[in-house]
Amino acid sequence: MRKLLAVFRIAWQYALTSRMRIVFWLGIDILIPVVLSLLFKIIYPTPQSTIAGLNYSQFIQYLLLATLIKVTLITYPSEEVSERIWRGTLSKNLLKPMSFPLYLITAGAGWRLFSVTLIIPVFILISLALNLKIIFISNLISLVFILFSLIIGFIAFWIFDFTFGLTAFWLTDISGIQNLKGVMFMLLAGQFIPPQFLPLWLQKINQFLPFQYFLAFPVRLIQQTINNHEIIKSFAILFIYLIIFAFLARRLWRQGLKQYSAVGI
């Protein structure tokens, strides 16, 4: 535990030395909701009219919550993993007396904590300025469901992304795959627009893919725009993907280490 705390402290200190960098990342994250909120002003005939069950305020609220969850919980271990495999610096981590995935989670948490401390005031200020609701939880059960979806969503996405990173053992340069994953996440997870805004045929495909359960599902739970049947189905799909990716990650990690030759060192 002491080792992990040390890693966390170093990551936090590193984040403190990269303040401007984090501000720019946050600026990029906030940019999409800003552009879309301006665009949808013309698409909504009146602020009261609804599109796919969301009025204009709820739509803005959706974008803000999705951004907040993305900044807080969506981390990309594949970048770190593939970089280390490519450059051969993974060897250093393999020699350290701690599990590599645990090291990545802890280091990522230190960095994320700093981002969260910056974005939460921004989120509150924008919500207050636009007269949006900030507190959503109406009862204990919904709070449990929301927390559960956030935790499972975080773990599932982390393993999902880590699995992609491990393909670097065989492919070396996976920036193309990461690019592909990024655009699919942007469209299907609900980072750009709520999944219910997608064309019907794409919605049908999307319900069997994991993306929307990482991001849009917790947001819909928070906004209470999802029924009980969908909640159960979403949790079930999320669990299935969690198991599939955990199995895949474990297998790829073991096979990959046999393949690893520390190329680049």
Partner: protein
Amino acid sequence: MKRFLKGLRLYFLSFKLRFSENVAYRSYLLSHSLAMLAHAFFRVTIVLIADNLGQGIPGWNTYQLVLLAGIHQVYVSLLFLFIYRQMMLLIRNINLGQLEHDLVKPIDSQLAIALKGGNLNNVFGVILGVIIIAFSLIKLNTIPLPTALLAAVVFLFFGLLTVYCFMFLGSIMNFWFQRVENAREFGAKVVANFNRFPADAYHQAGTVIYFLSLPLTLTTTIPTQALLGKFNLSWIIILVFSSLSLFFLSRQLWHFALKHYTSASS
């Protein structure tokens, strides 16, 4: 003239080297091409969603929006082909104190940086954009005149100049701030997210925001309108004036920044 031709030959040589580098990892080439296909699909889907929801974007029909998505595809691919990597190298050289290599060359330093070879994989992105443009023009029953085509290319150049300046200004922030490599990314994303939709789409956002966003949104709106044979003189003036002003600003700031360059860590 001889020096210019020599420079041109070196420029194409650097592209050739980059091409060899790009095809070294076949899986990368394949996955990158797939990613570009996904990006093109994303661009078209997003404008179609905007068109189908609510009252859509007034003044633009479906295929005009698809045409805009095609122009955006070409725009972003050209950005990655000619600008993105150069800015990445500039930032690396500033941070490592290795900018001297560009500063001692017998040509303008800003030009020397701009002329480094880009990422040739993005040619596929340009081809995809041209296919989308051709498809939408066929659906619109429009055959652009050669002058309209030329105008679209010229306006696209001014649009690229705008994003170049945004990225360049972001990149040279590295002279003063530590670890702000992503400042150039921020500059690119500001432009490439705003100009995903036509300028008219931001009309309801308020007069100030609408006018402030014009230099960004016109970068793709004007080339699209040029292909459709529509020319809005005031908008063209805004695009040309803003891109040239930004370029002037980037040059001034570049020379100012160079005075503060200490080649630290080299």
